[in-house]
Symmetry: C2
Subunit: 444 residues, 2 copies
Amino acid sequence: PCFKAGLICTPVCDCHLLDMGEEGPGNSVYLSERGNSIRLHEGILQEGYIQYGMDRHHDTDNPDGIINMGTSENKLCYDLLHKRLTKPDMLHINPSLLQYSDWRGHAFLREAVAKFLTRYCCSPNPLKADNVVVMNGCGSLFSCIAAVICDPKDAILIPTPFYGVITEDLHLYSDVKLFHVPLDCEADGKDNRPFRLTVRKLEEGLQRAKEEGLTIRGVILMNPHNPLAEIYSLKEMITFLEFAKRNALHAIVDEVYMLTVFDESVTFQSVLSADSLPDPQRTHIMWGMSKDFAMAGIRIGTLYTENRDLVEALAKLGSFHGVSGTTQHQVAQLLQDKEWINEEFLPENRRRLKAACSYLTGELLSMGIPFLDRPATLYVWADLRKYLQESSFEEELSLWKCFLRHKVLLSCGQAFCCSVPGWFRIVFADQQHHLQLGQYQQHS
Amino acid sequence: PCFKAGLICTPVCDCHLLDMGEEGPGNSVYLSERGNSIRLHEGILQEGYIQYGMDRHHDTDNPDGIINMGTSENKLCYDLLHKRLTKPDMLHINPSLLQYSDWRGHAFLREAVAKFLTRYCCSPNPLKADNVVVMNGCGSLFSCIAAVICDPKDAILIPTPFYGVITEDLHLYSDVKLFHVPLDCEADGKDNRPFRLTVRKLEEGLQRAKEEGLTIRGVILMNPHNPLAEIYSLKEMITFLEFAKRNALHAIVDEVYMLTVFDESVTFQSVLSADSLPDPQRTHIMWGMSKDFAMAGIRIGTLYTENRDLVEALAKLGSFHGVSGTTQHQVAQLLQDKEWINEEFLPENRRRLKAACSYLTGELLSMGIPFLDRPATLYVWADLRKYLQESSFEEELSLWKCFLRHKVLLSCGQAFCCSVPGWFRIVFADQQHHLQLGQYQQHS
C-alpha cells in the first residue's frame, strides 16, 4: 500500500513529536521557564491537529485536503443535532443566565445531569445534584482533580495505551505525572483480548512506581476504553476499584463513551449501576457531551462524586472552567428531553455508528489489517505492524507521517504511550466517502 | 446608623477571612496538601458571595433576603439584553460550532473582537485577529498569563487597593504571588485624587520587591480602575508603561470597564489608541463581556497582544478555558451589531448607570459619607472610616459583617488589600429600590 512509501526515520522520545522536518523554535525571552516549556510542548496528536487545521478536507472547497481520522469526533449526527438545537426552547434568556453562577454549574443543570446519569447509568438510587460538578470539558476536570488530589510531581497510574491528551491535562497546569502500566499486546490471533487490563498488572505498576520513589495518588480507568474500545464488565470494574481501595488510591473513572455502544446485544454497565462502590469517597465518575452527544465544541464535562471535600476544592478552581449560562440552559434542555434522546438521537446515532464501523472494519479486513473488534466508541484500534520495516517507534512515526503526506490523519500508538509499536487508532464516525484508507491502497 | 451596632472583633490576616464565627473545617484526608490549601482558601469576597447565594433578595419571593451591592454586576440592562439575545440570529448552528475549534477562539470571533476593539479603543491601525485570544473569562486569562510569564513563586506588581480576586486568579493554579504597591490614602478633602498611582510608587514597590529577593515579572494596571473607579489619561498610562519597559516587566492592562464611562464630557483612552506603545511585546490588553455588556454569566474574556510567543503559550492552556461554539457565535453577533451597540445599548446603559450612580452618591452625601466621585464603572469607593471605633481591619470587618447581618452585602477594603482600613466598594448598578443604604440608616 501507498503508505509504505517514503519512510523517513526521525528520532522521537516519550510520546512526543520533536521534529516535523523544520528547526524547532527556541526559548522565548518573554516567557518564564514554565512558559517556554508549555509553549514548546507538542504531542503528536496536537501536531497532527495543527496540520489538519491548515488544510482541512472539504468535499467541494478543498477536496484534496486532509481527512481527519485522528480526532475522536462524531460527524454522523449533525442533521439530528441541528434540528434539535434550533428549536425555540434553546433560545431562552433569564437574568441568572447572564450573571455569575455557582462555579460547580447552575443548579438546574446539575439536577438535569443527576437525573440523566441516574437513568442512563442505571443507578439503583437517585443520584444527587449536589454530587455533580459541571465544567467546560473533561480536560478541565482532569486538570482540577489532579491539582487537588496531588501535589506537584505526584503521579497517577494509567494503563497504556490511553488517550494521550490526558498527559497534558494533568501536567500543564497541575504538574502531575502519569505513571504507565503497560498492557502488553498478546494479539496472536488466539487471544481475543489483547491489551487486557488485569489487577495483577495494576499491582505490578504500583509496585514499580513505589520503587521509583513516586507518590501515587490515583488510577485512571476508562470504560469504554480509549483507544482500545474495550468494554469492561461491572464485575471487572469492581475488581479494579477494589485494587484502588486496597491501596487508598482515588479511582477516576472516565465513562465519556458510555452511550456509544452500538451493538444492541451488548450492555454497558456504569460503575454507578453498582449497588455499592468499594470506596465511594475515592471514586469519581466523569462523563460529558463531546462523544455521546457528538458535541465536542459545546464544552461540557461532568463529574459525579460523593466526596464533599473534592467537590468543595473543585468549586474553588471552577471560576477558571465556567460554562456560559446560555449553553448550560441548552444542555439541560437536551438532557431532559427523554423522548428526543430515546426515540430520535440514540437509535439513529447507534445505527449510523454501527454502519460506519462495519464499513471501516470491512476495509481493514480486505486489506488484511487485524484490529480489535469492539461494538463501541468512534474508532477501532488497528494493528498495522505488518507495514513497519522493523518494530520501532521511529518506523511507526514514519508510517504516521506517510499517511499525513497522503492527506489522512490517524493517531499512532506512541501518541497513546502504547508499549508496542505499530498500532493505530482509526476514527470511523464520519461520512463513508471520507473513510479512504482502502482507496489509497487501490490508487497506489 | 444601624451598621454600627453589634461590632465583633475577629482576627483577620492578609486579605483573608478566616473565621465566620464557626469552627473552620480541617484538612481532608482525601486531598493533597495543595488540594487542602485550595479547598480551604476563602477570601471575604467569596465568603460574602456564598452568604448571598444562600439568601438572595427577591422582590416578591424573598423580600428580606440579602441585597448584593458587593459583586460588580450590572443589573440595569436585562431588558435590552433579553430583547437582543432572543433575536433569531442568535439561534444558529453549524458543524464547526459543535466540533473542536482553535483553542484561542474561533477565527470568526477573534475577527469580531479585533474589529470591535479597533473601533471602541480608537486604534490608529486595524487590530489583528491573530493577536486576539478568547477565553472563558478574564480570570482564566490572568491565570494563564501568570502561568507562562512566571515560574512558581515569581511575583507580579499590583497597586493596592485592587480587585481582590486577582490574588486567586494568579495563585490557585499558577502559584504566582502579587506584590503590593500601596497607594496611600491622602483623602483630606483637598486632594481630589487620593490613592493616586504614580511612577514613583511603582519604582519604590519594585525596589522593595527586589530587596525581598522576589522575581518580579510584570505589573497589573487597571483602567478604569477597580475599585477606585479612577480613569487614567493616556499620558499617565504611557508613563506607567514606560516604567514597565525600563524594568523589562510585562504590563497586563485590564480595560474591562472601558465602556462604563457614563459622563459624556469624559473620554476614556485605551492604551490601544496610542500611536505606539513603549514595549509592544510586553504589553497585553484585557477586555471582556462581563462588565461593559453586563454579561458576567456568558464567560468571555479577551486578550490583545502582539507577542506571538505569549499567544502560542496561551493556546496550549486554552483547552482548559474553552468557550462553547454557540456562545462564541452569539458574542460575535453582538459585537458586530454596531447599530444595536451605538444606538440602543450603550446610550441607554450609560443613562441608567449615571442615574444609579447619582442616586447612590446622593444617599452617601446625605449620610455625610465621603467617596471618590468618578464617572465610570459600576461602583463607588466610599470612605466609611467615621464608622470605625478605631482604625483597624478588625473594625472594618466587623462593619462589613454588620452590613451583612442587616442583609446588605458590600466589599470592604481589606478584600482589595487596601492599606488603610475603612474604605468600602459599593455597587450601584441595580434597581434603585435595592440601593438601601440610606433606608437602613433611617430605620435604625
